[in-house]
Symmetry: C2
Subunit: 573 residues, 2 copies
């Protein structure tokens, strides 16, 4: 921006107005008019995006090559994003209320520096983003090569550009701008296999700091009493404390396609969509950039869909090496705090990751659920909603509150649920699980390959811990390969296909229904294939089971198929 901004704007305007017939805005014109854009393309991008909105352009064309993007000139707004962390955020592509718009990436590499989100869309319709990649100069997670280990200590070597120093006697990571990258967990990855190390557990750090010293060789030795064994040469992942900056945030959008996009890194989930419908991901690749030398891709789940409708499609995608699950599809439960009147109730978010979400609307039908059994015992209609703040909402119903309602019970929207199609995807090498499926629409998982360290497919949902609505109704898992899953922590699911719902009183509870597992191949070293409870209707048929010696054998052959508190289960071995 050392060239006059005036000229920049004039050029931009002339260009875009001239092209208005086609509705095409070319970022290149804005970049050329701004001499500082080789250092930071954000001012040019912002001008181009503002023109796109003003001119109702149909497409923004990126120039190819690498675009450096810094937070200084970025858009800003406070965002509550479900299952991520609220904050005042800097955002590169902020799209509000836009319709029928495409970002053509042209193979552009968006290279961010510092704390900023890549794309945030609210109230948009029919948006397509294609052919680009997203990476960060300095990742929000930190990787240290394990060079030595002893009783209660590990010794690490960090990349030279990590700017490690001692703060409060412990390790601190900063970037060139002096920003600190806080961490709250450690997890060992197998450097050779590029996946979570065999049976590795998370070391959680709840605000503590563990003493560290720098060695004469320039390595860093970190002390913690419960540090056990670690493989020399493996990579310790220092997990980010907060999920401030997802790559793609969708709030109240309808129609979104992400095609041929690589999310090499971001500081939160890769794609997080809430209260949105009709979302397609085609050839989306969550994985470290080639040649980056990084083991871990993004800092949280690859994708996550909350209270979405219509269709969710993930076709030919790769969800690899991210710091959490590949996807989680569920609704929201708010907890009943207090009965205020025969038709009025005070609701409260009980999971702080849901604070600020405002999904209840007049006219919406909600189900009332016993949090002990997850039984949905009533349906009522909302007449009026009054949000008191990010945590509480007062709701007036169109009818009477059921007598059975008591504090602790939960409510969720009970209307349209999304149909889910996951096809041809590779899912693995990440932390924890693969697909967490919690929609009551039709779900098909077909032709995928799983190499997850925990459960490949998990049925979750509960009203006491995470407050996520689930309870599937129609699931087909067909023709997939489950390739040596379950090599990570034993806390990450009871089987390759498993139920994980937190249901305190399981006797008689039947939360999930109608799951068919057919024609799949289960290759593995771990006996734990199925772990089911509270399911009504489950068929396991025509699957091939192969034993490998790729990892140390694990598990009890008698507990290969665990089925408890279920009805109508057919398992054909």
């Amino acid at each position: 921006m050392k060239l006059t901004r005036l000229i920049s704007l004039a050029v931009a305007l002339a260009t875009t107005l001239g092209a208005a017939a086609k509705g095409t805005v070319r970022l290149q014109d804005y970049l050329q008019a701004d001499s500082t854009s080789t250092v930071d393309a954000m001012p040019a991008l912002r001008a181009a995006l503002e023109d796109c909105a003003r001119l109702r352009a149909s497409e923004l064309i990126l120039p190819g090559g690498t675009l450096p993007l810094k937070p200084d000139g970025a858009f800003e707004r406070y965002e509550y994003i479900s299952n991520n962390d609220p904050s005042m955020k800097r955002i590169a592509f902020l799209l509000e209320g836009m319709k029928d718009f495409t970002v053509r990436g042209n193979g552009t590499r968006l290279l961010f520096s510092g704390f900023m989100s890549a794309f945030s869309l609210e109230g948009c319709e029919r948006i397509r983003v294609e052919n680009l990649s997203i990476d960060y100069e300095r990742p929000f997670v930190s990787e240290g090569r394990i060079v030595a280990a002893g009783d209660g200590w590990f010794e690490f070597r960090f990349p030279d550009d990590y700017r490690v120093d001692l703060h409060d006697g412990s390790l601190r990571f900063r970037d060139a701008a002096g920003k600190t990258y806080p961490y709250s967990s450690l997890l060992e990855f197998d450097t050779e296999r590029k996946e979570v190390a065999y049976h590795a557990n998370d070391y959680w750090i709840w605000g503590q700091s563990y003493p560290a010293v720098k060695t004469a060789e320039g390595n860093w030795r970190l002390y913690r009493k419960d540090f056990g064994t670690a493989q020399i040469g493996n990579t310790m992942l220092f997990g980010a404390t907060a999920r401030w900056n997802p790559a793609f945030t969708l709030l109240d959008c309808a129609g979104f396609t992400l095609a041929d996009v690589a999310i090499n890194h971001c500081g939160g989930m890769g794609v997080i969509a809430q209260s949105s419908r009709d979302i397609t991901l085609e050839r989306v690749r969550v994985e470290p950039a080639e040649g980056s030398g990084r083991i871990v891709s993004i800092s949280a789940d690859a994708t996550h869909f909350v209270n979405c409708k219509g269709a969710i499609r993930m076709i030919d995608c790769v969800f690899r090496n991210q710091k959490d699950d590949a996807t989680n599809i569920h609704g929201w439960y708010m907890s009943i705090e207090r009965r205020l009147a025969d038709d009025r109730v005070l609701l409260r978010w009980r999971n702080s990751g849901q604070y600020g979400v405002r999904f209840l609307r007049p006219g919406m039908q909600i189900e009332v659920v016993d949090n002990r059994t997850m039984e949905s015992y009533a349906r009522v209609k909302i007449a009026q909603v009054r949000y008191l703040n990010a945590e509480y909402a007062e709701v007036r119903l169109a009818g009477r509150l059921p007598e059975r309602v008591q504090p602790g019970h939960v409510v969720a929207e009970d209307g349209e649920y999304p149909d889910v199609e996951i096809r041809g995807c590779y899912i693995g090498n990440n932390r924890a699980r693969g697909l967490l499926l919690g929609s009551r629409g039709r779900i098909v998982v077909e032709g995928c390959t799983f190499h997850t360290p925990g459960a490949a497919i998990l049925f979750e949902g509960d009203g006491n811990y995470w407050y996520e609505q689930s309870g599937v109704r129609d699931v087909v898992i067909r023709d997939n390969v489950f390739d040596n899953c379950m090599y990570g922590s034993l806390n990450w699911g009871g089987g390759v296909i498993a139920v994980g719902s937190g249901i305190p009183e399981r006797e008689g509870a039947r939360y999930h229904r109608n799951i068919r597992v057919e024609g799949n191949t289960f290759r593995g070293f771990d006996e734990r294939i199925l772990y089911l409870y509270c399911v009504d209707g489950f068929t396991f048929r025509g699957n091939r089971i192969e034993t490998t010696s790729d990892y140390p054998a694990y598990g009890d052959p008698d507990r290969r198929f665990v089925v408890e508190h279920c009805d109508n289960v057919v398992i054909e071995r």
Copy 2:
């Protein structure tokens, strides 16, 4: 709220509508209709305040007695408040755009629990708040009695309700709800005198944690290498990390009177007003509640006025024992980041305590100032402002940018400045200084008593550190008693009346003008009475100087009146 909310609302409506002729809303009616209001009066207060706004009531009458107020049902909004800390805040009295409205306290004690702000007013006109007190069940600062001290350690006893435990090996304070009260500084107070201990310095904690252990007697021993001597029996104040919850926040208000109000505690400044005009504080008492046993009152400055206009009056007030200065009156400097064109400039906030402030407006005249000398070398008019985010703004001027402009220079509004009258106040026993005077209007300080640990009256302002516009033009300091000031840290001002402006190049710089000090009494043990630089026009006449032995003598008699880089200075001893 166990009684039906419906009944509550009906009663409230009937009451207020019935009284609408007088425009009086009585909180008592709302409290009576809500059976849970004895535990938390916030829902009733919120309903009453919403009715006040809807009915355009002229007054809200509080019932007297103690009102417990909790954050659960409080208003919420994100606030950037100058010189405090931005956050998503819970607020009890949120008044937006209200006019001609009085809160009659009736002696009510507002007793808050947890992180919430008492009053926040935006865009209001002619508001009066009278006859109430503000306190917090659990203060945001923590006080520990020093029971023992050794080489590199102090041992403390904390009140039983502090819920102290060890976290990360160091002290953590929590409340009954489990909320943590973080601290980032320590300062010793003299328990007997109820003031900062003699020459005590702040121990700053920048994110570190220092090891602690619990003793057999239930005391807590804290280790830190630079802990020197401390008086057994004195009180160590653990200062709050952030200023999230001021007592009174005024944003863009005109006409505000606070009368007969005690601010016994709050988690930020007592009164912070920005871009507001005509503010009167009468008999406002910032001090610990009687019988509370607390040494320290509020966690930051008693009052603070930024870019205000009209009149600021503080009459017969008490500003005692707060954790920072009694007042600070100044403007804002934004820093010039880059010249964008002949008439366009990119501005940046350089003090993060000013982030998010949007005071620049089209038509506003701004001065352009050399940050090295604080010379104001040009005046220009703003044609257009575009806020990029909380940190940056693009400004187009009505004319050309002066040639002399360069990055680092600063700009501030140069229009109306407030006249300031401070009369009959007691100011002392707090941390740091008394009055920081930075208005270019007429300032009169008369009939006050000062017992400040640092400078009683300080002329600040700079364009390199705090970015606060000052440069006084007309100050009268008359008939005050400066009673044993300067007993605290030697960092808190060079004299009882002093300049503290950060001016890197003082030669020839004359930032402050026309200060008269007449008819005052200076009683003290410390030789440092005047410390002046960069002043043009200063008269010290008819003052009485008495030496006391109330504290150990300090200072060089030859440096009683320090005058450097000044013109037109008359000192009559």
